[in-house]
């Protein structure tokens, strides 16, 4: 099928540095974390789990890991519930004001994170909700929800609304329609949406930085604070943990794409999470 457009040798040559540029930084993270040295170097001088042990023995880092997992749990649960209900609610329907509703649902993706961080910072102080992981988790839920909405909407694209009506006319109640008609169809979208939501939350730095408190410092915030003084083995271990999470997400996404055979469907749509 692709024999009509053979790879041009010059292009292939040019692309090697580009692909190396993409891969090398992520590829060195795990070796750096397992480096047998007190200093951060690449290539590593030997393999050692000393830094990993040091990371898990350090209260500051383990509580940061806990905080990150808690905020991600809040973001995933809220994101899945709100994103999925919205996608189902809007499926196959046209009504005045619908573009505005969709716009509102997607809007958190285009507002720069630093702006949201400032807005949440002020807002949660003004309602006296500070000093815990909850406001951080809620903030992550705000930016994670549009992803779940989009992935669920994509998986609903093939569902004919007439199917829902026929189930209803045969006497299926709302819950039974949700369970037997919608759920099987949206499940892949829900799973990849939950994955996105988890990844958005676990990597989010700016909002967590603005809203941090002694009990609620997430992994990226701890890394960001430490990295400004020194590159330490514990930052390397933390990076390696996050890279492992990223690799799992990526593998699942690739499997998903392979199964669906639609490589452009899962475009990275994020604007907000990556700055």
């Amino acid at each position: 099928m692709k024999t009509t457009n053979p790879q041009h040798p010059l292009l292939a040559l040019l692309s090697i540095p580009a692909f190396l540029f993409l891969v090398i930084p992520t590829a060195i993270v795990v070796p750096v974390a397992l480096n047998d040295s007190r200093y951060i170097t690449f290539p590593p001088e030997g393999i050692s789990f000393a830094a990993v042990a040091g990371f898990f023995a350090d209260r500051a880092w383990t509580s940061a890991l806990t905080a990150s997992l808690q905020s991600a749990a809040i973001a995933v649960v809220i994101g899945v519930l709100l994103g999925a209900t919205a996608a189902i609610g809007l499926h196959g329907r046209k009504f005045p004001g619908q573009p505005a509703v969709v716009g509102l649902i997607l809007a958190p993706m285009i507002v720069p994170t630093v702006v949201l961080a400032l807005a949440f910072y002020q807002f949660f102080i003004s309602i006296g909700m500070v000093g815990s992981i909850v406001p951080i988790g809620l903030a992550h839920a705000v930016i994670a929800t549009p992803y779940v909405y989009l992935t669920t909407r994509a998986s609903l694209a093939g569902l004919n609304p007439a199917l829902v009506r026929s189930a209803q006319s045969l006497g299926a109640g709302p819950l039974s329609v949700l369970r037997h008609v919608y759920l099987p169809i949206i499940l892949p979208g829900l799973i990849s949406g939950a994955l996105f939501a988890f990844s958005v939350s676990i990597d989010e730095t700016v909002m967590s930085l603005f809203m941090q408190s002694p009990g609620a410092t997430t992994l990226p915030v701890k890394m960001f604070t430490d990295i400004q003084f020194n590159l330490t083995p514990k930052i390397a271990v933390s990076s390696a943990l996050l890279v492992s999470v990223a690799t799992i997400g990526l593998l699942l996404q690739v499997l998903f794409v392979l199964k669906r055979r639609s490589s452009t469907r899962m475009l990275p749509l994020a604007v907000s999470a990556q700055t």
Binding site: H8, L11, L22, P25, L104, I110, V111, V114, F123, T264
Partner: protein
């Protein structure tokens, strides 16, 4: 069609049979219940905080104050120049990668896609940390440069504008590859075949067919990348020097160092308005380019 009439509110229900009227009404209310959670959530936790932010920005003559601050002016200039430079590099690299993806066979394509998506899934701090390790004075890039005899002493590659652009391009590349790739795949393969059969060389096929027809992808990628660039916060701090701070860093400085909320809010509103205008242009470009990705 029948769907629409079923769900529209029906004003004249008096004469209709009870059972026929009750069913659509129940369905209608269920449908609103599904939208209610997300609308309530976004109104309380998204629109309200942003509304308060906009409100705060009008206090204390904040706009005039921040725009007269030379640090802010410098951050705005930095934001524009760094974003522009990152965008150009990202689109060029993205184009090369998209071309390779486009021409790759199915299996190679999936593997290369994974390579492109890897930085997308990796958090920004991890990526910047890795670049700091690579670019530090005793890092592998400097070792390589010394090894091939290009330099005797380590070149400072970190904590300067070069490093900021490297870090940003690495984060931004996936966003450029996908729009360009999707405009390349919409080009009819037979155009290239026809040109080649009429004697056109690879270079002129690219210049006169591929490049012009992928222009919508290039402009979409450029805009999207530029939009994302303007909000960068972490990379200038981790990889830049004191002279490389961007507008997001200035917002942080006003909010957390000066505790000047109205000033920070005014800057945030300026950034949001800039980004919103660019997003509107971006959607125009997507529509004009006929890309079916409606997001």
């Amino acid at each position: 069609m029948s769907n629409a009439t079923l769900e529209r509110p029906r004003p004249r229900g008096r004469g209709a049979p009870v059972s026929a009227e009750a069913a659509p009404r129940r369905r209608r209310s269920g449908w609103w219940l599904l939208l209610a959670p997300i609308l309530a959530f976004d109104v309380v936790l998204f629109l309200t905080p942003l509304g308060k932010l906009v409100g705060a920005s009008f206090a204390d003559n904040a706009y005039q104050r921040v725009l007269e601050d030379p640090l802010v002016v410098r951050a705005l200039v930095n934001t524009l120049t760094i974003s522009l430079a990152s965008t150009i590099v990202t689109v060029v690299l993205g184009y090369i990668i998209a071309m390779v993806l486009w021409r790759a066979g199915n299996v190679t394509r999936v593997i290369l896609f994974a390579v492109v998506l890897l930085p997308f899934w990796t958090g920004i701090l991890v990526k910047n940390f890795a670049w700091a390790v690579l670019l530090q004075d005793n890092g592998i890039v400097n070792a390589f440069l010394q090894g091939i005899g290009l330099t005797g002493a380590p070149i400072p590659l970190l904590h300067n504008r070069f490093a900021v652009i490297v870090g940003m391009v690495h984060c931004l590349l996936p966003y450029a590859v996908f729009p360009i790739f999707s405009s390349l795949t919409s080009i009819d393969d037979r155009l290239g075949l026809a040109a080649r059969s009429l004697g056109a060389r690879e270079g002129s096929v690219f210049r006169r067919i591929t490049l012009p027809l992928s222009m919508p992808g290039i402009s979409a990628a450029g805009l999207l990348v530029f939009i994302i660039s303007t909000g960068f916060f972490i990379t200038p701090v981790v990889m830049g020097g004191p002279g490389d701070m961007m507008i997001a860093n200035q917002i942080d400085y006003y909010a957390r160092q000066l505790t000047d909320f109205s000033g920070a809010a005014a800057l945030a509103v300026i950034l949001t308005v800039m980004v919103s205008i660019l997003v509107a242009v971006y959607q125009r470009v997507l529509k004009a380019g006929g890309q079916h990705e409606d997001n």
